[in-house]
């Protein structure tokens, strides 16, 4: 395993973890821009732009982009979050040059007006698709309610109204502001060699221009409020609780991830034994999400309407009782072994390493190996867990319920 990094003259940062035993190579451009960087009138633009990147350049139309990537058997995709827009492909090593050329080419898109109008329809369909899914509706509602006016609270996709009102010129302006090379990290992992990567980067991205953009980082304070949303035709209820957690800059994120596992892993956790094992809920999970200078715990419960209020009370009891019934050494060991094994399994694929590498470089300017992360996980102690719980308690929380009844109230 070899690590390399360089910064091109135009500010594009290139990182690579090379592994001769891999069968493929993953390549990704990480743009440090997402929904939190949009103004109110730009709501939904980051994600819309991600779609438009695939609609072509001066030398390729949309069909050609897809065909050229498919011809080399590339597994390609893109994703937009609150903070990052990531364009990535995984290919067999011999196709890296072609994959590189295509990906770099589409990152300087034409943003044609007629493509913009067609793709807008696709996005509006995507929004409606998620509107039909109670879990997505609950997640978006909970995030919005918890973060309030903080930009992290806005949905990444935008709404039918906000996306409907977007104009091509806004997108061209947004692109100019956020897609300058100093705002990008190029991450490569798998079977390849550094000289070739650097040469490809210079050849295909060396002439990019643009400057870095500045992100506003107000500190979020969860509203800890309650709302019950009606979906009259649904049969099941979704309950979501959100509370603030450590930010991605903090090493406490490892303790936070372990706490989430102890409390709400899909198996063997406190929520599992208290809610799923007795059949009171058919889903109950806690996850920890780190953001740039922010963090949150999300708890999801799916259950029958009859059990909803009681399950909210049970959840509040489980979280509040952490003071009198703190995590034990055995809790920690089981959570750690699970998290570590999953980490190893996930990182066996170059595509996953590329993602890990790119995000670490974007936010920490640091190369973190799988081994480093296992070591950081193994260093977490019970006092660490208790300290993080003290600083970032899971209760009180913002609570949202979605389903056929709104006759629910915030648990005490």
């Amino acid at each position: 395993m070899r690590f390399h990094h360089a910064t091109l003259e135009n500010g594009l940062q290139v990182v690579a973890e090379l592994n001769d035993q891999a069968h493929s190579v993953g390549l990704g451009f990480f743009v440090k821009a997402g929904s939190r960087d949009e103004s109110q009138s730009e709501w939904g633009l980051s994600h819309f732009l991600e779609h438009m990147i695939f609609k072509g350049t001066e030398k390729r139309d949309a069909l050609q982009v897809n065909t050229d990537l498919d011809r080399i058997g590339a597994k390609h995709n893109a994703q937009t979050s609150e903070e990052d827009t990531i364009y990535h492909v995984t290919v067999l090593p011999e196709y890296l040059p072609q994959a590189f050329e295509i990906l770099a080419d589409i990152l300087r898109p034409s943003l044609r007006t007629n493509d913009f109008e067609t793709e807008k329809q696709v996005i509006l369909e995507e929004i409606q698709m998620y509107d039909d899914n109670p879990m997505s509706v609950a997640y978006e509602k909970a995030k919005a309610l918890h973060f309030g006016t903080h930009p992290l609270g806005r949905s990444v996709l935008g709404t039918l109204e906000s996306v409907g009102a977007l104009q091509p010129d806004q997108m061209r302006g947004y692109f100019k502001t956020h897609y300058g090379p100093p705002n990008l990290v190029l991450s490569v992992a798998g079977k390849s060699n550094w000289e070739e990567i650097l040469e490809l980067a210079r050849k295909h991205s060396g002439n990019w221009t643009g400057s870095s953009s500045h992100r506003q980082l107000p500190k979020p304070h969860g509203t800890l409020s309650f709302e019950a949303l009606l979906r009259a035709d649904d049969q099941q209820m979704v309950l979501v609780a959100v509370s603030d957690g450590p930010p991605l800059e903090s090493d406490d994120r490892y303790a936070a991830a372990l706490l989430a596992t102890i409390l709400g892993d899909h198996t063997g956790s406190r929520l599992y034994w208290d809610l799923i094992d007795p059949g009171l809920a058919d889903g109950a999970e806690v996850s920890y999400q780190d953001y740039n200078q922010a963090g949150a715990y999300y708890t999801f419960i799916s259950c029958s309407p009859e059990e909803a209020q009681e399950n909210l009370e049970r959840l509040s009891t489980i979280f509040r009782s952490l003071k009198t019934n703190p995590p034990t050494a055995d809790d920690l060991e089981r959570a750690r072994n699970k998290v570590m094994a999953r980490h190893v399994l996930r990182n066996e694929r170059p595509g996953a390493r590329m993602m890990n590498l790119g995000l670490n470089w974007t936010y920490r300017q640091k190369y973190v190996t799988v081994k480093d992360e296992l070591e950081l996980l193994s260093k977490v102690t019970i006092p660490d867990l208790n300290r993080v719980l003290e600083e970032w308690p899971l209760w009180p929380a913002t609570v949202v319920t979605v389903g056929p009844t709104t006759k629910l109230h915030a648990p005490h």
């Binding site: 891999a22 069968h23 069909l63 198996t267 059949g279 089981r334 072994n337 399994l345």
Partner: protein
């Protein structure tokens, strides 16, 4: 692309398959026991799914909590479920821990406690799962399509029905376990950084004295082309259709896979291009192949808003028609092959993918295809052969399922 597949058949009928993957740190297994939901009694639909959950709730001399805790300590990710054909158990962890977890899994499938105390919670969970399906239009429409496009019992939802689940008793579960769960025809496929002689000896020790049981053969119902609409007040209409294809052991299998992929297996595939890229009619559209030993289907699925659903269906049908009339061209066949071949090679980076691939091949073919064999079969495909296969596609035997505010017109 040469790897050796190791095979060992136990005298009771269990087949052990293994692939040593020196480049990974993990190991995974997939255990398939031919006792899936197709064997559920007609008035106990959902029994095998419930049995899979019951397995984890105590076995051998371990209670529910001891099983889960011990697997957590070993860092094992695990899943037990009922498919149509099999009860299946899969697990993955660090290679050093896999052998340590095997005795627990041997207990789970051979000596489950099936404690009557667990019946009520398991029923509650199963019913919540079935109700949750009603709230998820994208999954629901596929369940409806499979029900009508596959003959009974292959098309039945393995999760069963609410009436079936409510009728289940502990005696039913015990009887099902004794009658159907055994080594005859079972497949244990292991992949990862394993030591073959050690694995083989351990499996002999743990499963060698498992007494074989009598296997009955399935009798299949009839399928007639049919249309189904489920009325629901959703944002989007879900459109799903299927027509019969050939099974994995059929000489034209690779031609069928080529057809399915060219329709909807990659980003420049026909349905994606015509429905989404050119017309902006939907966000999600796909086509795929699904097969049992007895029957197989090609399925297509799209979700789109009410006013655009009719056009979406019409374009999907027109594309099927064009495929039958005009066949495929050399370039798209080349693209299709590149995609399938690169997926195949990338599989070698994941112990979990390889384990399930080995088990799947053995179920369908009674042997494991080497990667070279598959690659050679893909290379041997010609546009003429694929087109000749396409001409015979039974698109007049279409099953159509839709879900949403209104039914669609179907004319062919």
């Amino acid at each position: 692309m040469t790897t050796e597949i190791l095979t060992h058949r136990l005298s009771n009928g269990l087949t052990l398959l293994a692939e040593v993957m020196p480049a990974v740190q993990s190991a995974a297994f997939s255990l398939l026991i031919p006792a899936g939901a197709a064997n559920d009694p007609a008035n106990r639909r959902g029994l095998s799914s419930m049995l899979a959950e019951w397995w984890m709730r105590g076995a051998g001399d371990r209670e529910s909590r001891e099983i889960i805790d011990e697997l957590d300590r070993l860092g094992v990710s695990h899943a037990a479920s009922a498919g149509t054909a099999h009860l299946s158990l899969s697990a993955a962890t660090l290679a050093s821990q896999l052998l340590n977890s095997l005795p627990i899994f041997a207990d789970i499938v051979r000596r489950p406690l099936l404690d009557p105390e667990e019946l009520e919670p398991l029923q509650a969970l199963a019913i919540q799962g079935l109700k949750g399906l009603e709230d998820d239009p994208g999954s629901k429409v596929i369940v409806e399509l499979r029900k009508h496009a596959f003959p009974d019992p292959l098309g039945l939802n393995p999760a069963g029905t609410i009436e079936g689940v409510e009728a289940i008793t502990t005696e039913d579960a015990r009887h099902f376990h004794q009658t159907h769960v055994g080594p005859d025809g079972a497949i244990l496929a292991v992949a990862g950084a394993i030591d073959w002689p050690q694995l083989r000896d351990r499996v002999e020790e743990l499963f060698g004295d498992w007494a074989p049981q009598h296997r009955s053969t399935l009798s299949l119902g009839e399928v007639r082309p049919s249309r189904h609409h489920l009325t629901k007040d959703t944002q989007q209409i879900q459109v799903a259709l299927a027509f019969p294809s050939v099974t994995v052991s059929h000489p034209e299998y690779y031609l069928a896979r080529a057809v399915a992929a060219i329709l909807g297996g990659y980003s420049s595939a026909r349905l994606f291009t015509e429905v989404r890229e050119k017309r902006g009619l939907c966000y999600s559209i796909s086509a795929g192949y699904e097969g049992f030993r007895e029957r197989a289907l090609i399925l297509c699925h799209a979700g789109t808003s009410t006013e655009r659903a009719q056009e979406t269906l019409d374009v999907m049908l027109a594309e099927l028609d064009r495929l039958v009339r005009n066949g495929v061209d050399a370039q798209e066949l080349k693209t299709m092959t590149a995609g399938l071949k690169s997926s195949l090679i990338m599989q070698q980076e994941s112990s979990m993918s390889r384990a399930s691939m080995l088990a799947g091949d053995w179920y369908h073919l009674g042997r494991v295809r080497s990667l070279n064999e598959i690659a050679a079969a893909l290379d041997a495909l010609t546009p003429e052969a694929v087109s000749q296969h396409a001409v015979k596609l039974p698109i007049d035997q279409l099953t159509l399922a839709t879900l949403g505010p209104k039914a669609l017109k179907y004319s062919q």
